[in-house]
Symmetry: none
Subunit: 234 residues, 2 copies
């Protein structure tokens, strides 16, 4: 006969806590991390279950920002500011919902965006030129890719890539970054511009307020989920 002995509890298990400021720093950080991802998960589920657009922004006391958004944070924020529902812009998965859902509005919205974009292009010409120059330079270290940066290639479509491919893509990106970083270091040293430890000043080259569009590659059109989650670290 097998004797079953009650094993001593390995943990106390969850305990109820009051909803008040956590004083213990470590505890607070752990809780922040767990609950934050919990909220993001909930947000993702809500967007999938109900076809809702969701945007979540969280600032930690340490000053870090975390955000989640479906289809992506910027789109949701922009829609909030403009008062235009994201669904009117691109999402069309809800065909069963409201078939005659103001197609005109959709058209108008896209049209407006197209016009805006076109106008932006003019101002962007200068920047593109700079990009071309950069390409020439970077190709020296990265290896020629023809007329464009390889990451600008249309064939690079995140939606189609499976996880492994994305991982590879990631590593490649990191690799390129390192190479460029190395190249930059060389240039700076040669120029005597190098300032140890100093963060590079960002030229106020790009200042445009580009209207977020649903064509975003990180959005979710491809799969059943969309949504982007990211934080910005220094």
């Amino acid at each position: 006969m097998v004797i079953l002995r009650k094993l001593p509890k390995r943990t106390q298990g969850r305990k109820r806590i009051e909803i008040k400021k956590l004083e213990n720093l470590n505890n607070k950080q752990v809780t922040f991390s767990k609950r934050r991802s919990g909220i993001f998960k909930k947000a993702a589920e809500l967007s999938v279950l109900c076809g809702a657009e969701v945007g979540v922004i969280v600032f930690s006391t340490a000053g870090k920002v975390f955000c989640y958004g479906h289809p992506n944070v910027e789109t949701v924020l922009e829609c909030y500011r403009s008062g235009v529902a994201p669904s009117a812009v691109s999402d069309d998965t809800a065909g069963d919902q409201n078939p005659n859902r103001v197609p005109m509005a959709v058209f108008n919205k896209e049209y407006m965006e197209a016009i805006k974009e076109l106008e932006e292009q003019k101002r962007r010409v200068v920047e593109v030129k700079e990009a071309v120059r950069m390409k020439k330079m970077v190709m020296g270290v990265v290896g020629g890719c023809g007329e464009r940066f390889w990451w600008e290639d249309e064939s690079v479509d995140l939606d189609v890539l499976d996880v492994q491919e994305v991982e590879h893509y990631l590593m490649s990106l990191e690799d390129v970054r390192k190479k460029v970083a190395a190249r930059l270091h060389e240039v700076r040293i040669l120029n005597g511009t190098l300032a140890p430890g100093a963060l590079p000043p960002v030229p106020a080259v790009h200042r445009l307020c580009h209207m977020p569009m649903m064509t975003n590659g990180f959005g979710a059109q491809g799969g059943q989920f969309g949504g982007g989650y990211h934080g910005f670290g220094v």
Copy 2:
């Protein structure tokens, strides 16, 4: 002796559901309402427990907007947009954390803007093409660029290589990498490939900010929370 009889179950209780688009309209609406308030409550708890600033925006498929924010939505959004850390101004509970975060906020703001711009380069290539095509169609005339776009012309001066430009692209590259990493993380979370509590592969974040508050409550029992919640139809 008291005889306990098992009463017939009054309800089936909760049932597990798949996280996929709810087809039943009524069901979807109910779920949307319940889960939405659930998220708001979670957000409120997070802000109280961890002193975090949280902003949540939700669009229903019907086009209604609901939001919650601590201290309030606008503040959080403004913070996000500007990259300014309110915590540096008002709340100082985190003084032990990161004394030198204010100057970074300024840097981050410009950095973010620059990054956003580059992030869209890939998409823009396609858009530029379309824009040019549109122009041709609409105007019926075009200043011939041959097979290439004017901005691809070799005559573009390559001699001037500004270090700042290199730095800019370097940072942009890094960000692209982060974005991809974030996307991968998202896919993994939704696929269940990643543990629920897992954090993004990216050293997530930074943008500084912080500043508590809150006004109403959704889960705000006892007026312990502040935070603002409101929705408005479109």
